[in-house]
Point group: C2
Chain length 310, copies 2
């Protein structure tokens, strides 16, 4: 099935306890497309970039089945730039610079050739832009998933809630789930968020894994314990890309298959954080993926025979 | 197989965001014995209490197969008393009062009738007292597990490390694992701690579950997401009690069976936190346990068919 991804394509400057890079490609749609491309192709990309976005990066994505008809190229503009520094626990970071550049004029246009997409990922963006994408779809996709962040909850909660009524699945981190719902308990938060629209909810917990909620059902995927998290940038986007890439490939949106997709997403995120930026996402082999999924099965697999004394 | 548990039996005063109790029984050995008793009996208890420890609590434990020959009763003394207040996230707490009382004179004596124990749990205590228990065992148990806390790392690290060389499994929380090893990464911390003695290591992460390490193998058990954690007191001790109670019952210390025991321990902890103190641990039915373990299987169970696009 075809997959549509909308999000940012950008440059990042990153500083972690393990090192720094001044300028590396990034952006939610870049990470998500790389991750999804291991499972499904073509990927119909919707984004906006400046003339400075490297031609070889575009060529590398095209070689992975990523289509650029929906990517607006502003030749005399500069791509979105973000700079951040991570703290030792890698769960908190300071944004140092956010230069919107061409992103400020992002007005997504969905090409006719994208209208066959059954799977849609709305990357983290202004809610009004996410809504514009949904408004242009001529038929209802099988699955629309959405990422967002606390920033939009602070300044555009009403628009965010409008988008929520039109998506099937929301993915946020634990603090965002708490902010959105006003509930500390993640189980209570999930119920309130599901009542806002999305039937499915994924709460990402970084090194502690992710929870998938559907009705009263809950699935918990661990994150792979790693010796070192080198750079967490893109972990959430590669999680999302792997998740929806796998669903698009298997074309099965049952809760059972979504559980598998959550583990696939967790595996892709575990690769992403091993090197700076999207470097690791570009070099994965089928053997890497199979071995890593094997690690997850070992990590999660258990047989319990209940034996009570009473 | 017989199980020996050494630890505190105490009174607690507890305050959580959901309410407070002024005086309820507690102590690591109390919680652990209640949890273990659902899987294995008899349980050979080693502790010290004052004349104020309620006769009906002793009778209730005896009815669950808990033997008191190794429990020193100081008729004119007062039982250990701890008072604490939990914060909203339930992972942090303030100790308000710690009255050692009879615990200050704890000099454990292992009765002859306890010498057949193949499974031994050293609850959180002064390392020197844990060592005294090991010194009195006439044959090597199949499995010795040990709990400890940051306090002993601060004031008795050398003695703690001595005990570590003589135990098979250590269980600590994530911040304690970091303090003990000096490593932030839990994978690196695990390797350093395993090199100190224990082949097996369990790192408890509260609402994020627990990790079991053995050699290069890792197993991750989720915690059950709960609407409300009413009172976290005793969660770690009931985890330990369920864990070793199950191992003692099944008499199988393979990594595979330890995985199951970790899930059993997590299930017992999930019950414990539902009510104040050990109240919930006293009223569980076989159906409660079977249903809860079923919840864990749903929470963890996944089938993944790898389908790559490349």
């Amino acid at each position: 099935m075809s997959l549509l991804i909308v999000g940012t394509m950008a440059f990042d400057a990153l500083e972690t306890p393990f090192g720094k890079v001044d300028r590396i490609i990034g952006g939610s749609a870049t990470y998500a497309a790389w991750a999804a491309s291991y499972f499904t192709q073509p990927i119909k990309q919707v984004s906006i970039i400046g003339g400075d976005f490297p031609k070889e990066e575009i060529a590398a994505l095209e070689a992975r089945g990523v289509e650029f008809e929906g990517v607006d190229v502003i030749e005399d503009g500069k791509s979105f730039f973000w700079s951040g520094r991570y703290h030792m626990d890698m769960n908190t970071r300071d944004s140092l610079i956010t230069d919107l550049n061409v992103l400020a004029q992002f007005d997504p246009k969905i090409p006719e050739s994208y209208q066959d997409c059954d799977y849609v990922m709305l990357g983290n963006l202004v809610p009004a832009v996410q809504m514009k994408v949904l408004d242009q779809l001529k038929h209802k996709p099988k699955l629309v998933i959405m990422d967002t962040m606390n920033f939009w909850m602070d300044i555009a909660m009403d628009e965010l809630k409008q988008v929520l009524t039109r998506v099937d699945l929301l993915m946020v981190n634990d603090s965002e789930a708490r902010q959105l719902s006003g509930e500390y308990s993640l189980v209570k938060a999930a119920k309130k968020i599901q009542a806002m629209g999305p039937k499915f909810l994924i709460i990402k917990k970084g090194e502690h894994g992710a929870l998938l909620f559907y009705g009263d059902k809950i699935f918990s995927s661990p994150a792979l314990p790693l010796e070192e998290v080198f750079d967490p940038t893109g972990a959430g986007d590669t999680f999302a890309g792997g998740f929806i890439g796998y669903l698009s490939r298997t074309d099965d949106i049952s809760f059972e298959n979504m559980k598998a997709a959550v583990v696939i997403g967790s595996a892709m995120a575990s690769f992403c954080v091993e090197k700076f930026g999207p470097i690791r996402m570009k070099e994965l082999t089928p053997a890497d993926l199979e071995n890593r999924l094997g690690d997850f099965v070992t990590l999660m697999n258990v047989n319990i025979e209940i034996a009570l004394a009473v």
